[in-house]
Amino acid sequence: MNKKQINNILIWFSAIVLIILIMTPGLWVVLTAFRPQVDVMAKPAVWIPRNLNLIQFETMLFGGSEGSMGRSPIPVLSYLRNSLIISFTSTFIAVLVGTIGGYGFARHNFKHKNKYFLLIMLTRTIPGISLSLPIFIIFSKIGLIDTHIGIILVFVALNIPFTIWLTDGFFRQIPRAMSEVAMTDGCTKLQAFWHIELPLSRSGIASAGIFAFLISWNEYALVSNLARSTDSKTLTVGLMDFTAQFTINWPGMCALAVFIIIPALILTFMVQKHLVTGLTFGGVKG
C-alpha cells in the first residue's frame, strides 16, 4: 500500500466518523418518532427498534388517543398555521427591505457607509436570547405579546442584517456596466434594477429568503417567551406541549420534530443548489 492509498483510507475513515457523529442525533429523533414509548424508555436501552408504528403521527394530526398516554392531542394545525404565517410574512418583509438595503450598500456611496454597514452587522453579534427580556417588556406594554405581528417584527429585525449582507455581495458581483448600459438603453434607474440587476441576483435573493425562512421557522427561544397561546404559538414552541409535570412524551415530541424538519430539509436542498450554482456571467468576459 503506498502513501496515497493510506491517505485516502484515512480521509474516508474520518469522513465516515464525522458523518456518523453528525447524523446520529437526527436519526435518533426520526427513529424515536416511530417507536412506542415503552421501547424508548426501556432499561437497559433497546438499541435496535423492535417495532415501528405511525401512532404518534396519527395522534398528532388526527387526534386519536391510543398510545399517546391519554393526553389530549396538541393543536398542531393551529401551530402550523402560525408558523407558516409568521415565517412567510417575516421572510417576505425581510427580503424586500434587506434587498433594497443591500442594493443601496452595493451601488451607492454615502458618508460613513462602511460604519453603517458594520453597525448593522454588529447587531447580529448580540445573542438573540439576551434580547428576549427587553423585547418582552416592550411588547407587553404595547400589547404585542402573543400576536403574529409581534413575532413577525422580531424575525424581520433579526433577518434584515443578514439579507443586506448577502444581497450586497451578490449585487457587487454584477458589473456596474450592466445597469449603466441599461440606462443608456433607455431605462430609468428603477427599470435597470428591475429588468437587469434583480434577475441577475435572484440566486442571492432566493438564498437570502430561504435562510431567513429557516431562521424564522426554526427559532424557539424568543418565540417561547412571546407566544402564550394557540393564537401565536409556532410548531417549535409546540414541542413543549409534550412535556407534562412528571413525564415527557418523547415519541410524540420527536414526531412533531420530524414534521418540522421536513420543510426545512426541502428548503435546505434548495439553498444548496442556489449557493453552488451562484451566478454565471456570460455577458462579461471571463
Binding site: 456596466a177 441599461a182 433607455g186
Partner: protein
C-alpha cells in the same frame, strides 16, 4: 444633426481633478478618438457625455441641446463597454431588442430592427443564443448591435477591443470602421492604443493628466506633434528623444547632448532657439537610417555606432544602437543580415528632426 460640444468641462473625484476644463467640438458624423495613457481623463470625459458621471463644471451639448441635467436615457446616445456588458439572462435577440422594448415599440418593429442590425453585424445565426454561448468577437458584435439598434445620435465606445486577442482586435477594428461608414453616425471612441486611434479616427484627441494635448487628424499628429508627449505617444516604435542644450559651435547654433555629442540645429528651427536653451530633440526610427541600406537624406548628419540588437520584421529591420549613452531605434528599409556589435554608419535626417522646449514640452 448630432455634433457634440464640450465647453470647459471638468470632473473631480474627491480632490483629484480628473478632467480639467476641456473644450472640444465633435463634428456631426465624425469618428473622434480620445486617446491617452490610463488616468488621463478620456474615459471620464466619455462617461460624462453618456450621463454616467456627473458633469462637475462646464457644459456639454448634443446637437444644440444642453444635456448636463438629462438622464442617460434622455440623451439618445449608445455606449459599447469594454467588458461588453451583455445581459447574461437574455438571448442575443432579447439583448438587441431590449432598448426598443423599454421604449415601448411594437413587437413587429422591434423584430425588424433587430434583424436589420443583426444583418449589418452578421450575427443573425446567433440570435437565439445566450451571451455565454458566444465567443469574444461575437459578444463584441452583439454589444455593437445593441448600440446601433437604437439609432442613436452618438455612439460612445469605451475601449471596446481591449479584451480581445491581437488577431481578433485587428479584425474588429476594421469592422468598426466599416460600421461607421454604413451607419454614418457620430462616434466618440476611447482607447489607450495609439494604433487603434491612428487607424480608426477622423480626428484624434490626445489627453494627458486631464488636459487635451493636441487635436488633429492622425497624420497631423504624426507629422506635426504639438508637444513632446504627443511625439513620443504617437507612432511605433516610439520617437527617439534626446535631451540637449543649445550652444554656439563654430558660429553655428548646435544641440549638445549630455554626452557631449554636437548636432547642428535644423535650418528651419534656427530662428526659434537661443543659446543656453534646454531642449529635447526627437526623430523617428525611419529618419535615422544606416547608410548603404537606405536612401541618404538630403540634409544629413552622420554618426557611427555599433548595433546592440536587431529585430528583423521582414520588410524592414529595427536596429537598436547607441546615440551617446542613450539607446535609439533605427529602421533599415532594405533588410540585410546585421549582427550585434557590427559597426554601422547612420545618417540622421535633420529636416525631419523635431525640437521641443524642455520646460514647456511644446514643439519649437
Amino acid at each position: 444633426m448630432a455634433k457634440v460640444i464640450l465647453l470647459g468641462v471638468s470632473k473631480f473625484y474627491g480632490k483629484v481633478q480628473a478632467v480639467k476644463k476641456i473644450d472640444l467640438e465633435i463634428i456631426d458624423k465624425e469618428f473622434l478618438v480620445l486617446v491617452g495613457p490610463s488616468g488621463c481623463g478620456k474615459s471620464s470625459s466619455l462617461r460624462m457625455i453618456a450621463g454616467l458621471e456627473e458633469i462637475d463644471e462646464g457644459v456639454i451639448k448634443i446637437g444644440d441641446k444642453e444635456i448636463n441635467n438629462l438622464e442617460p436615457r434622455e440623451r439618445n446616445v449608445s455606449m459599447v463597454f469594454q467588458n461588453y456588458a451583455l445581459y447574461p439572462h437574455m438571448t442575443v435577440e432579447e439583448n438587441l431588442g431590449f432598448s426598443l422594448k423599454i421604449a415601448g415599440l411594437a413587437k413587429k418593429e422591434i423584430e425588424e430592427r433587430v434583424h436589420e442590425a443583426a444583418g449589418i453585424l452578421d450575427i443573425t445565426e446567433f440570435l437565439q443564443r445566450k451571451p455565454s454561448q458566444l465567443s469574444g468577437g461575437q459578444r463584441q458584435r452583439v454589444a455593437m448591435g445593441r448600440a446601433i439598434v437604437r439609432r442613436p445620435d452618438v455612439f460612445l465606445f469605451d475601449e471596446p477591443l481591449s479584451n480581445l486577442d491581437a488577431k481578433l482586435r485587428n479584425q474588429m477594428r476594421t469592422e468598426i470602421k466599416r460600421l461607421h461608414q454604413k451607419v454614418s453616425t457620430t462616434i466618440v471612441y476611447v482607447t489607450h492604443d495609439q494604433v487603434e486611434a491612428m487607424t480608426l479616427a477622423d480626428r484624434i484627441v490626445i489627453m494627458k493628466d486631464g488636459i487635451i494635448e493636441q487635436i488633429g487628424t492622425p497624420l497631423d499628429l504624426f507629422e506635426r506633434p504639438a508637444t513632446k508627449f504627443v511625439a513620443t505617444f504617437i507612432g511605433s516604435p516610439s520617437m527617439n528623444m534626446i535631451k540637449a542644450s543649445i550652444i554656439n559651435h563654430n558660429d553655428q547654433l548646435s544641440m549638445k547632448t549630455n554626452d557631449g555629442i554636437i548636432v547642428p540645429v535644423p535650418k528651419d528651427k534656427q530662428n526659434f532657439v537661443s543659446e543656453g536653451q534646454n531642449i529635447s530633440f526627437g526623430f523617428r526610427a525611419e529618419d535615422i537610417v544606416p547608410l548603404k541600406f537606405g536612401q541618404k537624406p538630403s540634409s544629413a548628419w552622420e554618426m557611427q555606432s555599433s548595433v546592440n540588437l536587431a529585430e528583423p520584421l521582414g520588410t524592414e529591420t529595427l536596429i537598436f544602437t547607441n546615440f551617446g549613452e542613450i539607446e535609439i531605434v533605427s529602421r533599415m528599409f532594405t533588410p540585410e543580415q546585421v549582427k550585434s556589435n557590427d559597426l554601422l554608419d547612420f545618417a540622421l535626417n535633420l529636416d525631419r528632426t523635431y525640437l521641443f522646449d524642455e520646460n514647456s514640452g511644446l514643439a519649437i
